[in-house]
Every structure is written in structure tokens, then in C-alpha cells.
């Protein structure tokens, strides 16, 4: 996983609430066995018409937002399915940070696993950042994870909260499976207790 430290980039305004994962990437593009290459299908129905041509009015089809690295949206971003293809598609397009008033839980977790930082800020702050984003390429946002602030184009700093463990993993680009595997003694001990306390719990074998 690519570490996330300080990002300065173009932010795209997407003033929609309840952006669901079917909207981020429709189910027909989930028939892949890879994590990469999904960026071309990001927001497929918003970006392209029935013939596959770009919809000229969609923000990510316009300059400078084709190069956006930050997305600003409204409430409950990423609701719906658990598909990690949603953050994979965002990442593949180049988005490293999503800022919204709130996120759906599974999407929120999936972002961290892929080096994307989701930042929840109050609606009125998101609306200010949305205005900044509308100013285009001359108004870049800086996302400073070590200091936990978003820096607006006017220099104002907006603090944000992030889970300590997730921050650590992001800053260092760490694979959390490797970390958890170091806890094998504790897992072994739990399993030994489980066998004793719940011997009724059968294992699965298919015959």
C-alpha cells in the first residue's frame, strides 16, 4: 500500500448525498479478478452516456478535474454494497482523499485498506471546501495527515479526526495482515479457550 503523508492536489466538487457504491462502480464491472484497471469505470453512468461517450457536464470530464486527487461530496458517501472495487476505482482514477460530512461504514474501512484517506467534516465546512474546489486548478487543497489538517487555498487550516491505528498504517503504508499475524500467540490462546468453552461448535467439511 502506498503511504499517505501530505497531499496537495486538485479537489473535485460532487455535491450529491448518498453516493452509493453502485454509482461509484456498477456491478457489471465487478467481474474482474484484479484490483487494478477500474478507474475507467469510475462513476460510469454519471461519466458516460449509453453509447460510451463522455457526458460533458460531469465534473470529472472537465478540466482541471480530470486530474483531481481529492473528492468533496455530501452526506453518507459510499453507502450500499461492500465492494472494495469502489475504492479501487477511485484510487485507479487518482483520488487519494474523499471529504464528506459522513461515510458509510464499510466503504470508510475499505478506503483505509487502500491508502485512501476519508475525512468527515461538518456539512458547512464541506460546503466551504466545495466552493474552494469550484475555483479549479488554482485552488488546490492540502491534506496533511501527520498534522491532521486540511489547508484551504486561503491558508486556513481545518483540523480533522482520524483513528490512531489507521493513521499509523496509512502514514507508513503498512499491511495490517502482517501486523495481526504477529499476534498469533493471542489468537492461538483464544482458539484454545474456544475449543474448551464451545465444543458444540462444529467445523465445516463438505461431503
Amino acid at each position: 500500500m502506498q503511504p499517505f503523508t501530505v497531499l496537495t492536489g486538485i479537489a473535485a466538487p460532487l455535491p450529491l448525498a448518498n453516493v452509493d457504491t453502485d454509482k461509484i462502480i456498477p456491478a457489471r464491472f465487478l467481474k474482474t479478478i484484479k484490483r487494478t484497471g477500474l478507474g475507467v469505470h469510475l462513476f460510469d453512468t454519471l461519466r458516460f452516456d449509453g453509447t460510451g461517450a463522455e457526458r460533458p457536464d460531469f465534473v470529472l470530464n472537465t478540466e482541471p478535474y480530470r486530474h483531481a486527487e481529492v473528492l468533496i461530496a455530501h452526506e453518507n458517501f459510499g453507502c450500499g454494497s461492500s465492494r472494495e472495487h469502489a475504492p479501487w476505482a477511485l484510487l485507479d482514477f487518482g483520488i487519494r482523499c474523499v471529504i464528506a460530512p459522513s461515510f458509510a461504514d464499510i466503504f470508510h474501512t475499505n478506503c483505509f485498506k487502500n491508502g485512501i484517506l476519508p475525512i468527515a467534516l461538518p456539512r458547512e465546512v464541506c460546503d466551504q471546501l466545495m466552493e474552494d474546489a469550484r475555483m479549479g486548478g488554482n485552488a488546490r487543497l492540502t491534506i496533511d495527515l501527520p498534522r491532521q489538517v486540511v489547508v484551504r487555498p486561503n491558508g486556513e487550516e481545518i483540523p480533522f479526526a482520524v483513528d490512531a491505528l489507521r493513521r499509523h498504517l496509512l502514514l507508513n503504508g503498512l499491511d495490517d495482515i502482517g501486523q495481526t499475524m504477529q499476534r498469533a500467540p493471542a489468537i492461538n490462546a483464544y482458539e484454545a479457550r474456544l475449543r474448551q468453552q464451545a465444543p458444540w461448535m462444529p467445523g465445516i467439511t463438505v461431503t
Binding site: A27, T45, N76, D105, N110, M201
Partner: protein, 469 residues
């Protein structure tokens, strides 16, 4: 001091903590891991690249459901990408020694139907799957939730997840459920009440007289759609209904082991005085047969209602969003919901693909016929549900009424297989999501119960099932 009173969720959570880390994150043990072909290939690939094994194949079960066609399967899967995904799962379960129900096995079906059906999902367990509708298994009194592919890999490798505890929310449904209303109407009413983000960060425990009286199928329908209210999971306390359902299922404990298990399961319901971060109470008398009109499950009204008017919405962004929904759905403000014509009717999915759902649809369809120009299909949730329905003669009832009778799978719930809506087609669907394009690009979805879906098939329009003789 006596121990603090705990909720059902607290009890299941606490009993699965392997280790609590400094920042409050818990290493949570996972008892059951359900795997399907869409969200697992990259996880197995990750294991392979890192040289890791599956820690507990005996706590894991794999099945194919999303891609598989629901028509004749004797010639394999025609669509190359779907075929590759299914073949990849088959290769992975063979390589990593994961138990698997093959396509031609009667036990094949939608992952959330077969877990309870086989007695694999049991009370007090932690159950995960790379699928948001894993909340279904919460009906057993388990903590069951959907995870992404990275977490699938994490569970395969370590049998644990790194999680922080959710907040407790109680949704209480009191009173007597009116005639013509089902579990689907209850959960749609709940989502309409609390909204599509109403449960974010919470685990919902469904309680109250109405929930207690539901059979397990109804409880699964309700827990299934918890994610549509944004909740991490939904749970219902196990009781005699639960134990009777589990007894004798293939993978459930047997004999003395079953008795010991029940003894433990009886300790799981929330203690008197347990604290919830939020409590929502609904009275059943306020529930009617429900149908969605928009492209979010929270946009739901009783079938007796009319399409809402964006002009009545004060917030500008919300008004624009409602207008966008009406444009997509091709509906006009004030239009009676019961006047909306449908092109397709879909009965199935992990929400409503159980035998009880097919029985409910058959009660309405028996002796009637699908309206001209309407395509209506029944997709049983598993091969065993299909067999059971056929043993009861329900396939004949539905076929005689002009419905298609198909093989088990996710099918038109999300259109990853050939069962898709065409652009502009309108569908009365017993599934769980009405997002834009969910059932096929440009398709329009109205969510409702199996009985309501059958009624819509017969009349050719959204219909109040209470008016069907």
C-alpha cells in the same frame, strides 16, 4: 457492584475479543466466513503473493451465487468474464482447501440463504462475508456483517478482524401487524423512518412483539436490509423460534451438543436495563404494504400514497436530488403509486428468496395470470428452496400463472448474470436496493414484498395486495 447490563451485541462482541489494542481497536475473532466468487479472487491472490495459508478452512464455506445464470446450467457459463470468476473461485477453494458447495450441488444458492439453511450460521457467532447483506445472519442472534476484500484476506489469513465496537441501537416494533403486511413492509417502514444513514456506526437490535412473532424467514428479511439503513449489522435475540429452526439442520450441533449450545444461546438476549445509544419505536398499526418510489431505499411510502413533490422540499440540494430521482424513475409528483405500470417482476434475492417468500407469492398468484406484456420471474434462493417449492407444487402454481421458474442465485437483484433490466424498464422487485442502474443500466426498481410483487405481476401495475381477492 453487579455486572453492567449488556445488550445482545455487547455479549457477542465481548466474547470474541482476542485482544484490545491501546486505541480501543479490538482484534475480533471470526467464527464463520462465507466466501463467494465476486469479492474473493483478489483476497486469495493476496494470500498467494504473501505465501499465506487459510488459517481455518473448517470455519469457512464458499459458494457461487452472483454470476451464475438462472437458466439451464448444463453447458456451463457462456459469458467469459463470469466464467473466469467462477473458475477462479473453484481453483482457489481447491488450492486453499476451503469447503465449497459446487454449482451442480442442490445446496448451492445465495450465500445468505444457505448459511442459515445449512445450520452454518448459529446464535452468538461472529459471521462475516465480502457482501453487505451478511447482516441477514443476524436473525439467528449472531453478529454478522459485510466486509471488503482486504478484510476478506485478513480473515482468511488470521481468522480475525481489526474493529472498533459499534454503538447500540434498538428498533422496537410494538402492536399487531395489519393484514397484508409482511417482514419486508416492516423493514421498509423502518428504513423510511430512520433513513438510509440512520443506522451508521450502530448495530441495530430489532425487538418488540411484532418481531418476536415473526418466523425466521421474516427475521432474516428484516436483518438483511439493516445495511440499507446504514447499520453495521442487525440482530434479533435468539428464542424458541430460533432453536426450533436450527434443530436438525446439517451443520448444526446434534444431540447433547445441541442441548449445550441452547443452554448457552439462552444467555444471549439483552439483559433487562441494558443501555442503548439510540431507541426508535414504531407501532405496527402505522405500517401498510410499502413500495419505494425513488432510487434510495429510504424513499418509501405505503402503496396507498402518491409520488412526492420536490416543490415541498425546503433544502435546495435535497430538492434537486428528489427531482433527479423522479427524472430517473420517470415519475411525476402526485401520481398515485398504485397506478404505476410495471414491465418486469422479480421474486427472489437474499432478502426474499426463501420458501416462505415463494409461498406468499404463490398464495396471490394461484389461479391467476401474469398481465399481458409483463415478464415475471421467480428465482429461488437456493437449490434446496427450489426443491422444497417443487415438492409443494409451487413451481406449477407459478408456471401456470405465467411466471418463469428459474435456478438459484442472486440474479436480477444486481444483474451480474444475464438477468438484467433493459434501459427504461420498470421492475417490481423483492430485492433490497433501488439504486440507479442496480438491476441493469437505466432500469427502474420499486422494492416491495413477495406478495406485493405477485400482485403487481397479475395486474401489471403496482397494486395494493389487500385488494386482491
Amino acid at each position: 457492584m453487579a455486572d453492567t447490563a449488556k445488550t445482545l451485541f455487547d455479549k457477542v462482541w465481548d466474547s470474541h475479543i482476542v485482544e484490545r489494542l491501546d486505541d480501543g481497536t479490538c482484534v475480533l475473532y471470526i467464527d464463520r466466513h462465507l466466501v463467494h466468487e465476486v469479492t474473493s479472487p483478489q483476497a486469495f491472490e493476496g494470500l498467494r503473493l504473501a505465501g499465506r495459508a487459510v488459517r481455518r478452512p473448517d470455519a469457512t464455506i464458499a459458494v457461487v451465487d452472483h454470476n451464475i445464470q438462472t437458466s439451464d446450467r448444463s453447458q456451463g457459463i457462456a459469458e467469459p468474464e463470469s466464467r473466469i470468476q467462477v473458475e477462479t473461485l473453484e481453483a482457489n477453494v481447491a488450492e486453499f482447501g476451503v469447503p465449497y458447495f459446487p454449482v451442480r450441488d442442490a445446496r448451492q444458492g445465495i450465500v445468505h440463504i444457505i448459511g442459515p439453511e445449512q445450520g452454518i450460521s448459529l446464535p452468538g457467532m461472529t459471521i462475516v462475508c465480502g457482501d453487505s447483506h451478511t447482516s441477514t445472519h443476524g436473525a439467528m442472534g449472531a453478529l454478522a456483517f459485510g466486509i471488503g476484500t482486504s478484510e476478506v484476506e485478513h480473515v482468511l489469513a488470521t481468522q480475525t478482524l481489526l474493529q472498533k465496537p459499534a454503538k447500540n441501537m434498538r428498533v422496537q416494533v410494538d402492536g399487531e401487524l395489519p393484514l397484508g403486511c409482511t417482514a419486508k413492509d416492516i423493514v421498509l417502514a423502518i428504513i423510511g423512518e430512520i433513513g438510509t444513514a440512520g443506522g451508521t456506526g450502530h448495530v441495530i437490535e430489532y425487538a418488540g412483539e411484532v418481531i418476536r412473532k415473526l418466523d425466521m424467514a421474516g427475521r432474516m428479511t428484516i436483518c438483511n436490509m439493516s445495511i440499507e439503513a446504514g447499520a453495521r449489522a442487525g440482530m434479533i435475540a435468539p428464542d424458541e423460534t430460533t432453536f426450533a429452526y436450527i434443530k436438525g439442520r446439517p451443520y448444526a450441533p446434534k444431540g447433547e451438543a445441541f442441548d449445550r449450545a441452547v443452554e448457552y444461546w439462552r444467555t444471549l438476549p439483552s439483559d433487562p436495563g441494558a443501555q442503548y445509544d439510540r431507541v426508535v419505536t414504531l407501532h405496527a398499526s402505522e405500517i401498510a404494504p410499502m413500495v419505494t418510489w425513488g432510487t434510495s431505499p429510504e424513499t418509501v411510502l405505503p402503496i396507498t400514497g402518491a409520488v412526492p413533490d420536490p416543490a415541498s422540499v425546503a433544502d435546495e440540494a435535497a430538492r434537486a436530488q428528489m427531482q433527479r430521482m423522479l427524472d430517473y424513475m420517470a415519475l411525476t409528483p402526485g401520481q398515485e403509486l398504485a397506478s404505476i405500470p410495471v414491465d418486469v417482476v422479480f421474486i427472489g434475492s437474499c432478502t426474499n428468496g426463501r420458501i416462505e417468500d415463494i409461498r406468499a407469492a404463490a398464495r396471490v398468484a394461484r389461479g391467476k395470470h401474469v398481465a399481458p406484456g409483463v415478464r415475471a420471474m421467480v428465482v429461488p434462493g437456493s437449490g434446496l428452496v427450489k426443491q422444497q417449492a417443487e415438492a409443494e407444487g409451487l413451481d406449477r402454481v407459478m408456471l401456470d400463472a405465467g411466471f418463469e421458474w428459474r435456478e438459484a442465485g442472486c440474479s436480477m437483484c444486481l444483474g451480474m448474470n444475464p438477468d438484467k433490466l433493459k434501459p427504461g424498464q420498470r421492475c417490481a422487485s423483492t430485492s433490497n436496493r433501488n439504486f440507479e442502474g442496480r438491476q441493469g443500466p437505466g432500469g427502474r426498481t420499486h422494492l416491495l414484498s413477495p406478495a406485493m410483487a405477485a400482485a403487481a405481476a397479475v395486474t401489471g401495475r403496482l397494486t395494493d395486495v389487500r385488494e386482491m381477492a
